[in-house]
């Protein structure tokens, strides 16, 4: 017996290299097959999702306009310290660059980009272009300052240098209502009349929080009821919960407009019942946004809660009652804590979806109810300010990822316990 064992192990050692090679070979073909299986989806995601999104997000710090329009000027300014006006060579470069940029049709983008730094830059550029000094003028510097005295101010040159960096924090700061002061280089608060984004973020999170809370309040009892019902009945009701998923979001939102409008079903019913005398404004304001979003997002709260509740055996509450706890205390101290994982998942899912909402607020909300996504769409479609659009999008993404991290922290200790 032991002899044969020794023999076997001896054999095994001899065979090891070939065995290992065989194993590697078989594993290689297995790996190749699995790679082949995921390749179509992987390529699809890469080409149609990851790459475009990545490119778009990079626009939030990308800063090509000044660089491409004024290459020689930027090069000449590279060594400029900013203590006094740039030298004659820089002015010369600017004149040549402006003439070239005009020919190449880059003036629009340039003027827009520079106007982000100093609004007066737009008129300065067009005024300068109209009176561009001829190439035989001796001092381009004097000529430019003669066209507009702004060229003799350090601020304008500092702003030009600042706007010429290949990467800029400008858009991200602007999305947080801050800017870099071109005179001092410090981060300062934006002008009050331009500070709208922090308010928009606050509004977005507030709407998200209210909708999440409403979904929780409405969804928890439903999920509990579903979890306690016998299988057949709960399946039927689950279909009712999932029904909204089978209708287009736009159709559902439009339906809410019909229901909630001044002459709509809800207002008429309330007036018929004598509860109100005049129609209540329920749509194209915050109320409408919250009602419609709560309805749309309710299943995302119910489903995680239900799946957790279904796995909580009924005898925990019974045990708590047998130990002397009032049924409500038993529910609160024994049942509810066990639903925390589902509650966190549902709340997080609802909140993340809510803060990214676009269609519903756009259709049932007023001007003061538009959320971050609306402004992303606005900058993408209307003003073609992709830097601003992707800066807002990036901040929204960062907020979502942070929330996800918090969720992981919250649920992890529970998981290791059970």
């Amino acid at each position: 017996m032991s002899q044969s064992a020794v023999n076997q192990s001896g054999q095994t050692q001899e065979q090891t290299p070939t065995l290992r090679a065989k194993l590697r070979k078989s594993e290689r073909s297995y790996k190749f097959k699995s790679l082949l299986l995921i390749a179509p989806l992987f390529l699809f995601v890469l080409v149609c999702f990851a790459f475009p999104i990545g490119t778009l997000l990079s626009r939030s710090v990308d800063n090509p306009d000044v660089n491409t329009a004024l290459p020689a000027t930027v090069e000449a300014l590279a060594l400029w310290k900013g203590k006094s006006l740039p030298n004659e060579h820089t002015f010369e470069a600017l004149v040549i660059d402006l003439a070239n940029a005009k020919e190449n049709g880059q003036i629009g983008a340039l003027a827009k980009r520079l106007s982000y730094e100093i609004p007066a830059y737009r008129t300065l550029i067009s005024k300068t272009l109209r009176n561009l000094p001829a190439s035989d003028v001796a001092s381009k510097r004097d000529a430019l300052i003669a066209i507009d005295s702004s060229w003799g101010e350090l601020n304008y040159w500092k702003a030009l240098k600042q706007a010429s960096a290949p990467l800029t924090p400008y858009f991200l700061l602007a999305a947080l209502d801050h800017r870099i002061d071109s005179a001092t280089g410090n981060i300062v608060k934006a002008d009050p009349n331009q500070s709208i984004y922090v308010d928009i973020f606050a509004r977005t999170f507030a709407i998200g929080a209210v909708v999440t809370l409403l979904c929780l309040v409405l969804g928890f009892p439903v999920a509990y009821w579903l979890a306690t019902l016998p299988e057949g009945k709960s399946n039927l009701l689950m279909i009712c919960v999932l029904l909204p998923f089978w209708t287009s979001l736009i159709v559902r939102t439009a339906a809410w407009v019909v229901l909630l409008q001044s002459d709509g079903l809800i207002n008429r019913s309330l007036m018929f019942l004598g509860l109100i005398d005049a129609p209540v404004q329920l749509v194209f304001n915050r109320t409408g946004v919250i009602i419609a979003m709560t309805h749309v997002l309710l299943p995302f709260m119910i489903l995680p809660l239900y799946s957790v509740m279904k796995n909580i055996p009924g005898n925990y509450v019974r045990a708590a009652i047998s130990l002397g706890a009032h049924p409500f205390v038993a529910f609160w101290r024994v049942y509810v804590p066990q639903t925390f994982a589902g509650l966190a998942a549902g709340a997080l899912l609802t909140f993340i979806l809510a803060i990214g909402y676009y269609v519903t607020p756009a259709l049932v909300g007023g001007a003061a109810d538009q959320m971050v996504s609306y402004f992303v769409a606005f900058y993408t479609n209307k003003t073609v300010n992709w830097g601003m659009a992707s800066a807002l999008g990036s901040l929204l993404l960062i907020a979502t990822l942070l929330l996800y991290g918090v969720y992981g922290k919250l649920t992890h200790p529970n998981q290791s316990r059970s």
Partner: protein, 359 residues
């Protein structure tokens, strides 16, 4: 002795058609350990749940300390309960689990701490106070469940198959532990199980349930040695049943005739008229085996099973197969092989004439 619990004419049905408990009358004395034993669906757990307050009787009344229970909410009954899968709260430590019944009773923290540590000590789990239930073995969880049901000093403790999830060795160990706790603390215990050896080991009295009716309630010895129903004889322990025709009663015994004409004397239990079928029940270990021809009753060995300390033989007697004989290995005779004949005998007080059930 005073009755702590009385079930009076309890009926229970869930669907209004099929009764789960038919007519339950059961008195439990203070300090008694009563086991409700029966197959699943026999109504034993339903009866326990009605006592705990999680089910309401369709008819009848349950009394606790001579007070009717129907208006007393389950959380006010002050009955300790150990559940089948322990139902330890997974989000609380062992300590918090034990403190739960005390904190809902608004006990002050000093007393609470003292009681919890005493309860932990009682089940020898002091070192595990800060752990969560999932970090404990099945046996340890079981002990926590027991401690939690006892920590608020209930007079009455209900146990619903508390050892069902444990392996055999641990189960036997816990049976003794529960029995000792019962004796030390002077508890009244109502215990539900479908495991007959558990019932026999632990109980003062065993109530055998079937079809929503108590078939027999008595001490473990009486249940085993003197079953009053065929169901009880067959459900508890191993049992042989011979079908015979009742002839007449002599001074002490009923006389029944087997198909081959042999007459058997047995303790008369079932009421019957001459000519009725009776089930003659005897435990395998009460059968005495002798060489063929030594007694009038001859059996043929169908199967022979060697089990080390004892031997089982499955025999055919009077045309009825599967009659089991159990005898110590030392009483074995080498000539008893499969197919050979032997003679069987027993003393008539060990065989009982019971009702014929269709099993």
């Amino acid at each position: 002795m005073k009755h702590l619990v009385s079930f009076k004419n309890i009926q229970k049905t869930y669907d209004g058609i099929r009764p789960v408990v038919k007519d339950l009358n059961l008195d439990i004395k203070e300090g008694e350990f009563v086991t409700l034993l029966g197959p699943s669906g026999s109504g034993k757990t339903t009866s326990l749940m009605m006592l705990a307050g999680f089910e309401t009787p369709t008819h009848g009344e349950i009394y606790l300390n001579d007070k009717p229970l129907h208006n007393l909410a389950p959380h006010k009954r002050n009955i300790g309960m150990v559940f089948q899968n322990y139902a330890l709260f997974p989000h609380m430590t062992i300590e918090q689990n034990l403190a739960f019944p005390l904190s809902v009773r608004k006990m002050n923290s000093v007393d609470k701490k003292q009681k919890v540590s005493r309860a932990l000590d009682m089940v020898k789990l002091t070192d595990f106070a800060k752990r969560y239930p999932a970090q404990l073995s099945g046996g340890q969880q079981q002990r926590v469940a027991l401690a939690r049901a006892l920590v608020f000093d209930p007079k009455l403790v209900l146990m619903d198959e508390p050892l069902g999830a444990l392996d055999k060795q641990l189960r036997e160990h816990m049976q003794l532990e529960i029995k000792h706790l019962h004796q030390q603390l002077g508890l009244t215990v109502v215990y539900v199980t479908h495991d007959q050896s558990e019932a026999l080991t632990m109980s003062d009295r065993v109530a055998v349930f079937n079809d929503g009716v108590i078939q027999q309630i008595d001490t473990p010895t009486a249940i085993y040695e003197a079953p009053n129903k065929s169901f009880v004889a067959q459900f508890i322990g191993e049992n042989n049943t011979l079908l015979g025709t009742f002839m007449y009663c002599d001074e002490h015994y009923a006389v029944a005739r087997l198909d081959d004409g042999s007459l058997i004397r047995a303790v008369p239990v079932a009421e019957c008229q001459p000519g009725d079928q009776v089930a003659l029940c005897i435990r395998p270990e009460r059968v005495v085996v002798g060489p063929a021809g030594s007694t009038p009753l001859t059996a043929r060995i169908q199967e022979y099973i060697y089990l080390g300390d004892h031997v089982r033989m499955i025999t055919e007697i009077a045309g009825q197969p599967n009659f089991m004989v159990k005898l110590p290995a030392s009483h074995m005779n080498n000539s008893w092989t499969v197919g050979s004949s032997i003679s069987l005998s027993w003393s008539p007080e060990h065989i009982r004439a019971l009702d014929v059930t269709k099993h």
